[in-house]
Each structure stands twice: as structure tokens, then as C-alpha cells.
């Protein structure tokens, strides 16, 4: 099974070097084994969707990729750089990897524009005017340039999440991580955020999205990874995963989220 998937991915982007390489990654929280021998390669430009039941380790997995969590065994390489305790490697990786959280995590004391320019100015050392032009460009892309001077608390959830996407994009990352970006949103706002994500996928951005939005997965994902209890159970193109689940665990999961929707 893994060979078919490898074939799919490499056929799509044969020439691209892998953006993310996980090799037999293991992680424990205390005595709890939350990632079990997870191996996964994400090609440059690939769009990967990760799904699985709550508590299966999806967040932990993508948080390990930008080292918000540390893994204990195995190796993770991002953009060719091995994740370790080396702070310089860490800085380099965080600059290349953007992240969008379930709970937005905008900085409430800064305006939307300041949220977007902070890191370009202080991490990328971009002149302020240039950072602001860039930020306005991305705010336009997520369709809220008119909110630039407002504070996050004055925006709706969907608008906040779009600002969070713009904020991450302002760092011009090579890879974007999304951890359930729509699960804290009201149904009518999910669409506007997904539209922005689809637009981003069309630009060729490397994306790893934890999401249960099957419509989105079908539309943009090159590959869907199903996790359960800290391990990758099945992976393949969205059609195959959703139409022909091979394991009982995936079948059970699909029946649950279909009933939920």
C-alpha cells in the first residue's frame, strides 16, 4: 500500500526534493506513547491532509514539525535541516514554516496590520514600510484589507482565522501547517476560511493540514493520511481513502464523521 502512495506522490512531483522527512518518530508525554514510529515524507509543493479521531496525535505530529513539541526518537528533517537542540537550526526552520492554529492565537493587543508586520520586521529584518505593503498584499489575498487597523477582538472568528493565515504568510514560508483551522468556527464562517486555503493551495504552497473537511481534502489534497492512536494507519489519494477504506479503524472513523456532518 505504501508503495502505491509513494508512486502517486513521486509521479506528481518527481523532481522536487522532500520538504519534510519524518523517520520513525516516537514521542511520549510522560508514560503515554503519542507518536509511534511515524514515518512520512512530504514533497515540496505537496498538499497533505491529516485526519483521524480526536487524541490520535495529529496535533502532536504537526507541532513536532516546527518543534513546538520535541520528539524523543527518530529524526525530522524540514527543508533539509535536521531538527535538534541547535537553536540556529530551530530559527531557520521556524522562518520557513508557518503555522495556523485552531484557536487563531492572534496577538490581541496589536492591530491586524501589526500582527502581520511584527515577525517580518523583527525576524526577517524587513523595513517597516516594506513589511506593511507586504502585509496589505496578503490581507487583500485573504479578503480583509479594510480591517487592517482593527484589533483582533473586533473581528469575527472567520476573519480572525484569515488574519492568522495572512500573518503566517507574511513570513513568506515555504511550508504551511494548519491544525484544525476551521473547527473553532461557526458553519457559515468555515467556507470563507476554506476558500482562502484553496486559493493558497493553488499557488503551489507545501501544506500540511489537519482537518476533517472532506470536501476540502477531495478538492486540494494530493494525499490523505489517516492516523489513529499515534500511528499512521492508511494513506493515499483522497478518493481512495474516502471511497475504499481498507482498515476497520478508517471505516469506523469515516462512518463517524459522516454521521457528524
Amino acid at each position: 500500500m505504501s508503495t502505491t502512495m509513494e508512486a502517486v506522490a513521486s509521479a506528481a512531483r518527481a523532481d522536487a526534493p522532500p520538504a519534510i522527512m519524518l523517520d520513525k518518530v516516537n514521542k511520549w508525554y510522560g508514560a503515554m506513547h503519542v507518536l509511534r514510529d511515524v514515518s512520512l515524507n512530504v514533497a515540496m509543493g505537496e498538499r497533505l491532509v491529516v485526519c483521524g479521531p480526536s487524541g490520535s496525535g495529529k496535533s502532536t505530529l504537526i507541532r513536532c514539525i516546527n518543534r513546538l513539541e520535541t520528539h524523543q526518537e527518530g529524526s525530522i528533517k524540514v527543508d533539509g535541516i535536521e531538527l535538534s537542540d541547535d537553536l540556529r537550526a530551530l530559527d531557520a526552520i521556524r522562518r520557513e514554516v508557518g503555522m495556523v492554529f485552531q484557536s487563531f492565537n492572534l496577538f490581541p493587543h496589536l492591530t491586524v496590520l501589526e500582527n502581520c508586520t511584527l515577525a517580518p520586521i523583527w525576524v526577517r529584518h524587513m523595513p517597516k514600510a516594506e513589511a506593511e505593503t507586504l502585509a496589505m498584499e496578503y490581507l487583500e489575498r485573504v479578503k480583509i484589507p479594510e480591517q487592517a487597523q482593527k484589533y483582533p477582538g473586533q473581528l469575527s472568528g472567520g476573519q480572525q482565522q484569515r488574519v492568522a493565515i495572512a500573518r503566517a504568510l507574511c513570513m513568506k514560508p515555504k511550508i504551511m501547517l494548519f491544525d484544525e483551522p476551521t473547527s473553532a468556527l461557526d458553519p457559515e464562517m468555515i467556507k470563507e476560511v476554506l476558500e482562502v486555503m484553496v486559493g493558497l493551495a493553488e499557488t503551489g504552497m507545501t501544506m500540511v493540514c489537519v482537518t476533517h473537511e472532506m470536501g476540502f481534502a477531495r478538492q486540494v489534497a494530493d494525499r490523505v493520511v489517516f492516523m489513529d492512536r499515534g500511528e499512521i494507519v492508511e494513506q493515499g489519494p483522497p478518493g481512495e481513502i474516502f471511497e475504499n477504506p481498507r482498515t476497520d479503524r478508517l471505516k469506523l472513523f469515516l462512518s463517524q464523521i459522516l454521521r457528524g456532518h
Binding site: 514554516v97 503555522m99 492554529f101 496577538f107 493587543h109 511584527l118 484589533y151 477582538g153 500573518r167 503566517a168
Partner: protein, 373 residues
């Protein structure tokens, strides 16, 4: 009729609320005379307030004696308490403000007080909140030092033992908080550090200092500290008291700041990390601005407490505002006029503390605007 459809093509115009509901009349009806019990209590309190105010005006203004010729306090004593003897303030105000600072040089101490007040006002205005403000502080505190000590620029040298009064209170409070606050921030951050040594150091510091009264710290600073110094080396008494106050205030403020740090959600740290901000940038741009905004009320509460606690330096023989007031009425001619002196000293303390309190309320409202929808 009951089955016909009803349409109202013209929107009803808004009318002003009845005069009995809004404006001062409405307010009084709602808050003072909402029922007969409420009305009775209001009238009773009003009566007491007016009576007390009239009594105070009679004592403090109408019957008061404002000045007496060369220490002849007979006129004051003849009042037998029916009027205030403000003459004691007229006579002793320089001593209360400047202590035993040489009379001809007291303009220097006065200038220092004015510089302090100007410094407070400039620092309070948000439009001056820039990096340059730090330089202004250094310049202001430096020039206050030059003014008070002298010995340069043609100013006569005035030893620290002769400083006193309001200047001392302002020096202790301003230098104290100016150094204690940054110290407190570092200690609060240190207490949350992942490095065990730094964390332990900060915990020990806070717990040790909080565990003893300020008075005993002041005693230690004045009596025990010199014993540890090498022979012949002597640190100014005021400086020792100042260090004790800084250490004490630092420990308390650190706990206040830590409260603010704890209120911040983990997501804020993670978002800053994910953007690649370094520890100090994360702390300076994301963590502290939010944490400090949250703790403005307890922070100012502690500031006000310490402004007044500086008066404890009297036990090691430093002449602050309160001690100067107390000493002013030791002279036999002026004995018995404590009320007037303490009212005046209390009023000066009140002005500073009330200004801090009001300012903090404005600041809180302004800085937390982003939390209002």
C-alpha cells in the same frame, strides 16, 4: 378589526426620554430617592456631610490664624482648638519640604522637586513613550543628584545628612520604583524560567524578602550592612536605605507581574514561537505588553503602598516628609499643632497617591481598549 392586516408605512420617530428619566433629576430619582428608606438615608447623610463641611470651613478658614509674628504662638493658643493654626505651616513649610537643607541653598531642593514632578508628568503622557524617555529619566535623575549634592558647577556641597523632607520621599519612591520595576520583571520572568538555577534564585529572593518586614530590612541595611564592608569603605546611609527599598519593592512587584504572566494563554507563546520570534522579542512584544496591561490595578496599588512605606526610613534616622513634619513641631513654641502639620503632610501624600490612582484608571481604560468590542 381583529382579522384585518395592519401596516404602518411611516416609521415612528424617536422621542426624547421623559425628563424624569434622564439628566440630573432622573439620576437623583434613581439613585438617591428611590424609595422612602433610600430618601431618608440620603437626607441624613446629606445633613451630616453639610454639617461636617461647615464645621471644617469654620475651623480651617474662618477662625484660622494664618501667620504669627516671630514664633509668638499666643494668638494660636487663644483659639483653644476652635480654629486652625496654619501659622505653623507658614513658619515651618520650608523645613517640611526641604528638611535641614541649608536655607540659602533650598532653591536647589525646590528645583529637584519640580524636576521630579515634571518627570512624572512627561512619563505619564503616552505620546512621550519612546526610547528617548529613558534618556530623559537618566538626565533628570542625574541633574537631581547634581542639584542635591552640589560640589560641582559652582554649587556648594551639601552632605546627604542634611537632605530631608519631601525631596527625600520623592527620591526614595522614584529611584525605588524606577529600579524595582525592571528588577521585578526580570525576577518574574526568572521564576518561570526553564533553567532550574535561575528559577531557584528568583524563588529564594522573593520568598526571603517577602518573609521579613521592611523595617528589619532597613535596620539590616543601616546597621548590619556596613559590618560586611571592608574597613574604611562607607556607603551613604540614604543609598543603603534605597537599596533595601528597591529589594523589598522588587519582590512584591515581581509577584504582581508574575500574576500577569500566568494569565497569558499558552497559545500566545506558541504563536510567537511559530513566527520565529526569539525569547526576548517574544517577551518584549507579546508577553510583557499583555501581562502588564492585565496587572495595572495591582501594580499601581503596590506603587502607592511603597510611596507611603518610604516613611519607614524614619527609624534609621532619615528625614523624609513625615519625619520632617513630626520634627517641625518638636520646638516648644509650636508644640500642640500636630493636627495642622499632619493634615498638610497627609494632603501632600494624598495628592501624589490620588494622581497615581486616577492616572492608572485612565491608562487601564486606554490600554485595554482592544478588549472592548
Amino acid at each position: 378589526m381583529s382579522t384585518t392586516a395592519i401596516a404602518n408605512p411611516i416609521p415612528t420617530p424617536a422621542r426624547p426620554a421623559p425628563i424624569t428619566l434622564v439628566g440630573p433629576i432622573g439620576w437623583m430619582r434613581a439613585n438617591l430617592f428611590a424609595g422612602w428608606v433610600s430618601s431618608l438615608v440620603s437626607l441624613l447623610l446629606l445633613f451630616l456631610i453639610v454639617k461636617w463641611a461647615l464645621g471644617f470651613i469654620e475651623w480651617g478658614v474662618i477662625n484660622a490664624v494664618w501667620s504669627v509674628p516671630n514664633n509668638q504662638t499666643q494668638a494660636c493658643r487663644d483659639l483653644r482648638g476652635t480654629g486652625a493654626c496654619w501659622a505653623v505651616i507658614t513658619e515651618k513649610h520650608r523645613f517640611i519640604l526641604f528638611g535641614t537643607y541649608p536655607y540659602e541653598e533650598q532653591w536647589r531642593a525646590f528645583a529637584a522637586i519640580l524636576i521630579f514632578i515634571a518627570l512624572f508628568i512627561v512619563s505619564a503622557l503616552r505620546r512621550f513613550w519612546r526610547k528617548e524617555l529613558l534618556l530623559v529619566w537618566v538626565a533628570a535623575l542625574g541633574s537631581i543628584g547634581v542639584l542635591m549634592w552640589g560640589g560641582v558647577l559652582g554649587l556648594a556641597y551639601v552632605p546627604q545628612e542634611r537632605w530631608g523632607g519631601l525631596v527625600i520621599t520623592l527620591i526614595l519612591a522614584t529611584f525605588g520604583l524606577a529600579f524595582a520595576f525592571p528588577l521585578a520583571i526580570l525576577v518574574a520572568l526568572g521564576r518561570r524560567s526553564r533553567l532550574p538555577a535561575i528559577k531557584a534564585l528568583c524563588v529564594i529572593y522573593v520568598e526571603l524578602i517577602r518573609g521579613v518586614p521592611l523595617i528589619s530590612l532597613l535596620f539590616m541595611a543601616s546597621v548590619m550592612f556596613p559590618l560586611f564592608l571592608p574597613e574604611g569603605m562607607n556607603i551613604d546611609k540614604l543609598l543603603r536605605a534605597q537599596i533595601a527599598i528597591i529589594l523589598f519593592a522588587g519582590a512584591y512587584l515581581a509577584e504582581v507581574v508574575r500574576g500577569g504572566l500566568q494569565a497569558l494563554s499558552r497559545g500566545q507563546y506558541e504563536a510567537a514561537d511559530a513566527l520565529g520570534l526569539s525569547y526576548w522579542k517574544k517577551t518584549g512584544f507579546i508577553v510583557l505588553p499583555q501581562a502588564l496591561r492585565l496587572v495595572i490595578p495591582p501594580l499601581v496599588n503596590t506603587f502607592i503602598g511603597f510611596f507611603k512605606d518610604t516613611s519607614l526610613v524614619l527609624i534609621i534616622g532619615i528625614f523624609d516628609l513625615l519625619t520632617a513634619g513630626k520634627t517641625a513641631i518638636i520646638e516648644p513654641a509650636w508644640q500642640g499643632f500636630g493636627i495642622e502639620v499632619y493634615l498638610t503632610v497627609g494632603f501632600i501624600y494624598f495628592c501624589f497617591c490620588f494622581a497615581m490612582s486616577r492616572y492608572s484608571q485612565n491608562l487601564e481604560a486606554e490600554l485595554n481598549r482592544h478588549r472592548v468590542r
